[in-house]
Subunit: 392 residues, 2 copies
């Protein structure tokens, strides 16, 4: 009889791999894909990144290729603290380097949550965060949102009803919705949390990728919030995801717990990549690079948003983000976008069906579309294909 590996109860009877499935769809060359959550590779700062790696391999090779300390390389922790300190006083010892903000979410879940603990998330929310919380044994509860994201009253009720330990939010250019909380909404969310013992995981991978509207500081920067917030940043969207470098900012004793978890999971992030990112941040101009890429992103957002508004029926709604990568569509009829996807792929266009972004009770007429990697012309053609799919 052939051997069958045991499978942990962490995984359901039919484990789904929406993230992996997504990457498979993307690899087909003839598809116009709105499905990715990836930055446009044509816009990477190739020369500055290459020269940063060359510098490190020429002058710091022995350190770069060796094991390093779990919290991260000192130069990167310092550069990261300086970036975070634009909004919120931060010292290098409050920084734990991670392999992208994905590992930050995962480690935060491991550190804070015991099996069965409740995490409150906006509906819809980032699907790989849902996976990270589920594998940690947490129970996810979705909280109602409006055009600015999670509703403070709904948050207060959910805390009271479920005894939640943690709230997970992407307050700026959320994945998948593209929504951003204004300052007043952030203050209302903070006011709810300050009266409780609930911690906040504030995921901010997109915040600096703003192309319209006024910047808003993270919730962690509001009075009293820093001490109860794990703030997550990533270089994936503003520099390059292939480096797998991000960090978490946290105060007090929890950093040691996060370090123990980091040790058990990956020991440390690659010293080479850390030193190269630190070199880039101290010798090149990330702000100037971001300023050079937001123009194309703004143009693409305009193309996708206007195109969707013109194409979709009156029942539909479409978010119009001020940054990040995503428009979120709610068809508002009985369309199931999971059934629409194979038809769309036949027509040569892809998106992410919305159901996988919900903790429970998905609105199946929703879908996420990214404008980040397609020119306005490609977006127009993609929308023509999507219209054909909807027509069938």
């Amino acid at each position: 009889m052939p051997f069958t590996f045991p499978v942990s109860s962490r995984f359901g009877p039919q484990p789904a791999d929406p993230v992996g499935d997504l990457f498979s769809v993307l690899s087909r060359g003839d598809i116009i894909s709105f499905a990715g959550g990836i930055p446009d590779g044509a816009l990477f700062a190739f020369d500055d990144l290459r020269s940063s790696f060359e510098h490190v391999l020429a002058h710091q090779a022995r350190r770069a290729l060796q094991y390093g300390a779990t919290p991260g390389e000192p130069e990167l922790r310092e550069a990261a603290a300086a970036l975070v300190a634009r909004d919120l006083p931060t010292t290098p010892d409050q920084i734990q380097v991670t392999s992208g903000s994905q590992e930050g979410i995962y480690l935060a879940a491991q550190a804070l949550l015991s099996p069965g603990d409740v995490v409150l998330v906006e509906e819809p929310t980032y699907l790989a965060a849902v996976q990270a919380f589920m594998l940690g044994g947490a129970r996810l509860v979705g909280v109602e949102a409006d055009a600015e994201g999670m509703l403070p009253d709904a948050l207060a009720s959910a805390i009271a009803e479920h005894g939640a330990k943690v709230v997970y939010l992407i307050p700026t250019f959320a994945n998948p919705s593209g929504k951003t909380m204004g300052r007043q909404r952030r203050e209302q969310i903070a006011a709810v949390l300050l009266g409780t013992d609930v911690a906040l995981i504030e995921d901010d991978p997109y915040g600096r990728l703003r192309f319209s509207g006024e910047p808003v500081a993270p919730i962690a920067a509001l009075p009293g919030m820093a001490e109860r917030t794990i703030l997550l940043n990533s270089m994936s969207k503003v520099m390059a995801p292939g480096l797998r470098i991000g960090w978490m900012r946290v105060e007090g004793a929890l950093r040691q717990i996060l370090g123990i978890a980091k040790s058990a999971v990956t020991l440390q992030s690659p010293a080479l990549n850390q030193l190269a990112v630190a070199h880039y941040l101290t010798h090149h101009d990330l702000d100037a690079h971001i300023a050079s890429v937001v123009g194309p992103y703004r143009e693409r957002r305009d193309a996708l948003h206007a195109g969707l508004m013109a194409m979709l029926p009156a029942t539909a709604s479409v978010t119009r983000p001020d940054g990040g990568m995503f428009c979120w569509v709610r068809l508002g009829d009985d369309t199931d976008t999971a059934q629409l996807l194979p038809i769309a792929v036949e027509e040569g266009v892809a998106f992410v069906p919305g159901w996988s972004f919900y903790a429970a009770d998905p609105d199946r007429s929703t879908m996420r579309l990214s404008y980040a990697t397609n020119s306005p012309e490609m977006i127009a053609e993609g929308l023509r294909r999507l219209a054909s799919a909807l027509g069938r």
Copy 2:
């Protein structure tokens, strides 16, 4: 009242961080350290690694800096499969790339083990594996070992007594003991496992770093074992740990589960590092590099082993490994090496106290010493300091 973060029940009331603590001790410049589990940075293949990164950044930059597929970059999966296939037929789709073999252990634990499940480990075993299993909620049970590692009869009894799901072994140049299972012992271990539904996690980061004796194929290569084994390899000890590249070899449907876990933890390993390692493996000569470094390691093993034998009392035993990095000392008296360590550090020498490598009931007179990073002269001086500490 200041806010206190909740801490997961995964962590005990006084969470220890032996790995992190170790790296702190190592950072003191005046210490002769036998504590590290790190390769000698002076022996890295600097030129070949630098040219591999330069090639990738010059010719594959856009892919290298972008997100990639969860299982890993095709070139690396192919090169990894070819390496594993020297012992055991392996196809690229059986490879999941990991951030060092640490992430391999962690993902295997997450995939296979439900909270409360029993993992059998050799006593003593790799401490960061213990951490990975504990965070997964597993219950660790230590199995008795002799000079070749885990005893087959003790394994059979432990399986019968504890209903174990998984056995974790480092059969070649084990950490911390330096022991290697001969072919016959491997066959006996396999025979025990083949009669059960117990899976094997075979951790083999050191196997190719052999400087004496005859190579032995992994247990996974014995008849019937491949289908029930997750085999873990790493480039950390034979190429460079700062790249954080390793892989797991697994057959059948479990790879998808491992991929879901990988997605949730780190999404994927850095494409840049993967492509550079793949380039190194296909355009440079890893075997020749290993052949060039094992000479110094052999010399250092001889210096440490002979020095310890000359210095320690007759009650003590010292392992003499054929490869890898570690001698394991058992003083066999009432010395507690955890209490000896601060005295040794005062004398200017460091080692790892043995207690942290035990799942339960540690022999507190044990310690792990690595010869990998010190010249024979430094080893002699370090042993003089250790003798002074033991004398106090």
